[in-house]
């Protein structure tokens, strides 16, 4: 099992965000699905220790994530937040920054291609891209680390329908080209149905169901 969450609790500003939550997330594409405010994004942040639970454990392949060196963990288990937040400079600057963290030399053209961006984007100022382009640049930047797992927080929520379909296609294609597991947070059950092998449904800070996507969500329709 890739991730196991064991009786995890997390509260913020006096509100219980995750309440005795237990869930398993296998390799492949897992969707964490549920309504807004149900604690999905918080769950995702626990997986690469952007936050730690106040109680319970998060296991990565059977070992507590807190036993791992946190920076190395985040370079293997890389999170792309819901809203793009690139550094100042060009797209290539951003890719190089990430690659350097992992001690790599980035293949900029290939990274852009994997994220569905034309090679010309390398020289573009990150701040001047559209939200959809920035989101793809964020994906390319995460891929520059060559992570084992990508944690994607609502990667299409800021996009219109056409752009959403294109990003989904990019992610599915990515799975075919690169060995990477994906944990994708979404409030959109149709997206979960299209993308996921495995689904964890979260409501009010509790995992209410988990299993193969077909079992949990039924077939499209």
């Amino acid at each position: 099992m890739l991730f196991e969450l064991e009786r995890v609790e997390y509260s913020r500003d006096g509100r219980q965000v995750l309440d005795d939550l237990s869930a398993r997330l296998p390799e492949g594409v897992t969707c964490v699905a549920g309504p807004s405010g149900s604690g999905k994004s918080t769950l995702l942040r626990l997986l690469n220790r952007l936050a730690d639970p106040s109680a319970g454990r998060v296991l990565l392949r059977g070992a507590d994530v807190r036993e791992r060196e946190v920076l190395a963990l985040r370079r293997e288990i890389c999170l792309v937040p819901q809203l793009p937040a690139l550094l100042e400079g060009t797209v290539e600057d951003n890719l190089r920054f990430a690659a350097r963290l992992a001690g790599r030399e980035p293949d900029v053209a290939r990274l852009l291609d994997l994220a569905g961006l034309a090679a010309g984007f390398a020289e573009r100022e990150a701040a001047r891209l559209s939200v959809g382009e920035q989101q793809r640049a964020m994906l390319a930047r995460a891929l520059a680390l060559e992570p084992e797992v990508l944690l994607l927080d609502e990667p299409t929520s800021a996009l219109d329908e056409a752009a959403r379909g294109a990003v989904e296609a990019t992610l599915l294609e990515l799975r075919a080209r690169v060995r990477v597991s994906i944990v994708l947070v979404t409030h959109d059950l149709d997206q979960a149905r299209r993308m996921a092998d495995w689904v964890v449904r979260v409501e009010d800070g509790v995992a209410v169901a988990e299993g193969a996507a077909g079992e949990i969500l039924g077939t499209a329709g």
């Binding site: 405010g37 220790r49 952007l50 946190v70 920076l71 985040r74």
Partner: protein
């Protein structure tokens, strides 16, 4: 350097209150509601300056470097308390400020004495120390104020950088750079324009006291350049020590961005 000889009688001091009356009149007329503050400012400035005047006189009479060190330590302490109020969004800002002001004072005074710019006498160390601590306090307060805003306004960007496995230092680097810049830029700008659109205080004071303009200018240049160094040092130390308080040991933001 010439000691200068100017006598200001109490009557002359009192006469300058006419300008305070003007300030209060403007406030009342235009309803800026600053009358109370102006009055408080005038009373406080009189009491504080008279008191510090006696303290400085006592230190000069004693001619004791230990007393100089004590006075500067008190200034550093009050400076750190005052600056902390401007840096409310920075957790535990007091210690970084105290270290920054203390280090700026010690290093700057130590250097000017070691380089032979001033002699190690209370007559030089007290006024220069006061200017150094005062300017360092402003710079550190402005820098930390900006740092608090930066880290809170850019928490998404910072966390996105942490999410790649960057250290807290790497993730905060752009914010630190901007904070350090805003702490130092005011003095850099005023140094650039000095003599053109404003006359700095030391020079004004020396000219009023009857000093030779060339001497006044030389002393003013020494002080401006000394202050540039101390202000940069103070803002650097304050921001470098303070930014860690925004992060946990595991490179997590203590106040993560709102979802």
């Amino acid at each position: 350097m010439p000691a200068g000889g100017i006598d200001v009688s109490l009557g002359e001091v009192a006469a300058s209150l006419a300008l305070v009356v003007l300030a209060i009149a403007v406030s009342i007329w235009r309803r800026t509601e600053l009358e109370g503050d102006i009055a408080v400012a005038v009373v406080r400035s009189a009491i504080q300056l008279v008191a510090i005047g006696y303290v400085i006189q006592a230190i000069f009479d004693e001619d004791s470097l230990l007393l100089v060190a004590g006075l500067i330590a008190v200034m550093v302490l009050f400076g750190a308390f005052t600056a902390r109020r401007r840096a409310r969004r920075v957790p535990h800002a007091f210690w970084p400020l105290l270290v920054a002001l203390g280090a700026a004072g010690v290093v700057t005074l130590g250097l000017v004495v070691a380089l032979g710019v001033f002699e190690a006498e209370p007559r030089y160390l007290v006024p220069v120390g006061g200017m150094v601590v005062g300017n360092s306090m402003t710079a550190a307060a402005v820098a930390l104020n900006r740092l608090g805003d930066e880290i809170s306004d850019r928490s998404r960007e910072i966390e996105a950088t942490l999410a790649l496995g960057a250290t807290a230092t790497q993730a905060a680097a752009p914010s630190l750079r901007r904070s350090l810049r805003s702490g130092t830029i005011a003095l850099v700008d005023s140094t650039k324009t000095t003599g053109l659109i404003f006359f700095p205080g030391t020079m004004v004071g020396m000219l009023l006291a009857g000093a030779d303009p060339v001497d006044a200018v030389r002393l003013q240049l020494v002080l401006l350049w000394v202050l540039l160094g101390s202000v940069a040092l103070s803002a650097l130390i304050a921001t470098t020590l303070a930014y860690r308080n925004f992060f946990t040991a595991a490179h997590q933001l203590r106040e993560p961005p709102q979802p």
